[in-house]
Amino acid sequence: MTLKKFAVTFALGSIALLSAGARVSTAQSHVNSPDPLLGTPSVATETSQVNGLTGHAEEGKHEYRRFCIGCHGPDGNGQGMNAQWIDPQPRDFTEATFKCRSTPTGTLPTDEDLFNAITRGFVTTNMPSWRPLNPQQRADLVAFIKTWSPRWAKEKPGAVLNIPPETAITIESILHGRELFQKLECWKCHGPEGHADGPSASTLTDSKGNPIKPFNFSTGERFMCGDSNRDLYRIFMTGLDGSPMPSFADVIQPNDAWDLVHFLRTLQVALPNQELTLWQSYKAAHGKDLKPIGPDSAGGAQ
């Protein structure tokens, strides 16, 4: 065989092989086409809109099968082969219940909420940050995730929470936040010092009945739904659906919510922050005047 024939045969063979592959791939590309590895989604097809990108479920299906199936399972119900080894358990997409949202409790999250969750990951769980996937891939995944529950076909996402500008970080704000921490009984789960050792902590379960621990503020762990004060504000104003953490949107006013944020930061003793510095200097001077948080306490200064 001459070199020329050799090169021509190679080129033709490669083209035939790759075009055959393309045909097979195209035939498999519809989101509802039979796939031995995936169950049948509840919704025929979905799209997502994130930051000007349009995500496509049929593309996201391939990404799901590559990256997500091990934990979230072939049926999207959080029963992948690794699920039994994972704590906390993977999200069950068929329920369309999500912790990290910008929308009111009980409502569907926005596409951007899901996109941010995929991008950020959940630092205290087995869910990694999927930032290495490009934005289009993540948008495609959002679209595909939405095919697992019929809720996405029937309901619209809730209205996005309006977060007012943060109030000034003052000792008065922190003290008021401390009163709210007492009054709203946050200490019952998170503990008086935020050590996740409140009297109710050991009794908590998630919506699937699995035991769940409240957040321990003292260890330096990052918040699962974002690190900033705005993220913390959003967490207790929307609640973490599927967990015992309720929404306080109907209970407290925005200014009160900022006060609570400022106090919660003082519980993060392993993470230096402005609120903690202010609080520690106040406690050094007035610590003996503070009534301990817990049963039968008013929370603030005596």
Partner: protein, 488 residues
């Protein structure tokens, strides 16, 4: 190349041999298709699809980090760049179950057929053919974190006869000063090649190497191979998503050798006392698609340069070389890419190699003048590799390689052929991963590879000695390979 298989005094009947090969191939294919296709799809755990050591630690399918293992996708690249960490709060080994031990082994039982033309045999010049069941070498791979931001790799590797060496062994200090741009690695490791030969998808004797990663101009004393692991220290960094990556490595000028020699096996020639430098940089970007459509995927392009030295003679004792001296320089430069269009991936690479003229005159110390007509040995070439991923469990492969000698050490050193040493190679293959759990992986690998060399024996495959029977004629070497590649 040394002799691996010799045709005996009673050579096989060529026609009968061909039929036996066809029947064996057909049998293997039918067995694979009939047994595994149905069995794999019916496996209760077959619904999920892993380097098992990390997959076990993090509970991720192997397809999360690999386009098709062992090749990394960008998520796997970020994980590796971060020091085998997902950068969550559970990377430190203190979080692992005490029973967890980060070990993976990998080996490939196989059947293969090798044939090479233009061989000098006792029975006369002809074609050398060998076929049969065989084993690959074995990797015993251990890697992970010693502590948050301190990672390691230890990779003892054996040939099929269980002769072991340390393919890789290093410790890496990750995210120095809290920055992903500063990571320090110390030990023996693969250089930061954009297209890794250690993680590629080909296993056959002829196709299981990038020709240009191991090429040197015929007659040159340079033993450097760009694809070989080297020993030294590396400063590397990357952006958060590893789209931008750089590496600067200072390496001993000994081809990754240990014990002050130029190889990792006993009896290797001594090395010299100098250092080489490797530079690598790459940038990735997202290629957008049409409005309203998903984009092409991630595109990465990069460049590299290796500047090294090799001795031109040795300090000796009783005629035995002890330490290389009178170094002369050489370099390799090139660029590479990892381009994708949805499920189609294209890997182009171009390299130019330049040696000092003294390398073309074995035994001539650089303290002596060059003879008239001496010139720098050079070569250039590269490859174009294509992958098509039908899904995470099926990938079709094809590769075309061309290496040309640009300049011989002497214009008249060849036996009349200006193309002496040129290589043309083509490989096609298919890998199917019926099992891709977070505990283990199995891939069925089928390949055909064909290599054409001028004047020289193929770098892979089989051959009867160091030179072809007729150095002016082309030598063709074919490999057919079926293997079951598994790791746990």
């Amino acid at each position: 190349m040394t002799t691996k298989f010799r045709e005996g005094a009673n050579p096989m009947n060529t026609k009968w041999s061909r039929w036996k090969t066809i029947w064996t191939c057909a049998f293997l294919l039918i067995a694979i298709v009939l047994c595994d296709a149905r069995a794999a799809s019916a496996l209760p755990t077959g619904k999920v699809m892993a380097i098992p050591a990390f997959a076990r630690k993090y509970g991720l399918p192997c397809s999360a980090c690999h386009t098709a293992w062992p090749e990394l996708n960008n998520f796997g690249q970020v994980f590796r760049d971060n020091g085998y960490q997902l950068m969550n709060d559970r990377d430190s080994p203190i979080w692992q179950n005490p029973a967890y031990f980060p070990i993976t082994f990998r080996i490939t039982p196989n059947w293969h057929r090798e044939t090479t033309t233009n061989q000098a045999l006792d029975s006369g010049n002809g074609t050398l053919t060998q076929a049969g069941f065989d084993l690959s070498g074995m990797d015993l791979w251990s890697a992970g974190t010693l502590y948050k931001n301190i990672s390691f790799v230890l990779l003892p590797s054996s040939d099929p006869t269980a002769v072991w060496h340390f393919e890789a062994a290093f410790i890496r200090f990750d995210n120095l000063k809290g920055s992903p741009w500063l990571n320090l690695r110390f030990g023996r490791f693969e250089m930061d090649n954009l297209i890794s030969e250690k993680r590629f998808l080909f296993l056959s004797a002829n196709g299981g190497l990038y020709q240009i990663y191991h090429f040197n101009v015929p007659g040159s004393i340079n033993n450097f191979g760009y694809g070989d692991n080297q020993i030294g220290v590396e400063l590397a960094g990357h952006s958060a998503n590893s789209y931008t990556r750089y590496s600067v490595a200072v390496l001993s000028s000994n081809e990754g050798g240990v014990n002050f020699t130029t190889d990792v096996v006993p009896g290797a020639p001594p090395s010299n006392r100098s250092y080489d430098v490797n530079l690598a940089f790459s940038q990735a970007f997202n290629a957008p698609g049409a409005p309203g459509e998903s984009g092409f995927g991630l595109e990465r392009i990069g460049a590299f340069a290796y500047i090294g030295q090799r001795p031109t003679n040795f300090l000796t004792e009783g005629g035995t070389p002890l330490v290389g001296i009178n170094n002369k320089p050489f370099y390799r430069i090139g660029f590479a890419g990892d381009l994708s269009y949805k499920n189609f991936e294209l890997l182009p690479l171009f390299m130019y190699g330049h040696d000092n003229p003294y390398f073309g005159i074995p035994g001539l110390a650089s303290t002596q003048p060059l003879p008239p007509g001496a010139q720098a040995p050079t070569f250039y070439g590269g490859f174009l590799e294509a992958h098509y991923y039908f899904n995470p469990q099926n990938v079709a492969l094809a590769r075309f390689e061309q290496v040309n000698v640009g300049q011989q050490a002497f214009s008249n050193i060849t036996t009349g052929s200006g193309s002496n040493g040129n290589i043309t190679a083509v490989t096609v293959g298919y890998r199917w991963y019926p099992i891709m759990f977070s505990r283990a992986g199995v891939a069925l690998d089928g390949e055909f590879s064909r290599v054409r060399t001028i004047g020289e024996q193929p770098l892979g495959g089989i051959s009867s000695g160091p030179v072809a029977a007729d150095p002016t004629a082309a030598t063709w070497s074919n490999s057919i390979f079926f293997g079951i590649d598994f790791d746990f």
